[in-house]
């Protein structure tokens, strides 16, 4: 996949950690998508994508994240980002995706946000 993806559940929130540069190759995008589809089909609603081990991403990587975001939102769930580097935050700002992606400085803050907003998703 080019990147390592691990997921674990804690406190009702699914934490999906990515390590490595997210360059969004076609295969990794589809694999990432499949992972989210599988999690969503199990009824999981709240997700944090942990980017602490991800130094940067490119436009295709952003598309990969948006694909997962779409899968979750369509099922009434919520996904937020945690521990994004300044470089990734800059890309989200330039693309204005920061208008829809909630980005947090820590896992703790991301999880708090999800719990506080539980049930408010469309």
């Amino acid at each position: 996949m080019g990147i390592q993806v691990t997921s674990m559940q804690t406190g009702g929130v699914e934490i999906v950690a990515i390590s490595g540069k997210i360059v969004g190759s076609a295969q990794s995008s589809q694999d990432f998508q499949e992972l989210f589809r599988a999690l969503v089909s199990k009824g999981k609603k709240m997700y944090v994508i942990d980017l602490s081990e991800t130094p940067w991403t490119n436009s295709l990587g952003v598309g990969m994240l948006m694909g997962a975001y779409t899968t979750v939102k369509k099922q009434g769930g919520e996904v937020v980002l945690a521990n994004a580097t300044d470089r990734i935050r800059d890309l989200l700002r330039v693309t204005r995706l920061d208008a829809i992606f909630s980005v947090h400085d820590s896992l703790h803050s991301a999880m708090e946000h999800l719990r506080n907003n539980e049930g408010n998703s469309p």
Partner: protein, 134 residues
Amino acid sequence: MEIKARTTRGIEVVELHGKVVGEGTARDRFQDHVQMQMCEGKRKFVVSLGDSPWLNSLGIGMLVAALASVRNRGGEMVLASATSRTDDVLAVTQLHRVFAIFDTVAEAVDYLANPSANLPPGRHQQKRDKKTMK
């Protein structure tokens, strides 16, 4: 998915035909087309979705990846002619806060051709589809 493109008033109009499912080949062709146009100096793009009955999450990823490339180079990409089904997906994902969406390609071209729409972040006008949302 088939891609048809033309240039109008210096703006690249990219029509997507067929379901936008964003699998590897389609995504790469779309991305390559946009990159090639940017290499030729184009920075303003309209993506017409009128002949795309629907798009899935990978299709959204495909559009956002292209949008990221374009905005990263100081350009802009807007959407036009979305079907009501596509518009529903854009609404659920709140992508209307990211993309400007126009009812017609002509309106989208007018918007981008207007020099005052030279698109610093935040100068982002939106026109929502008039079709009834479910």
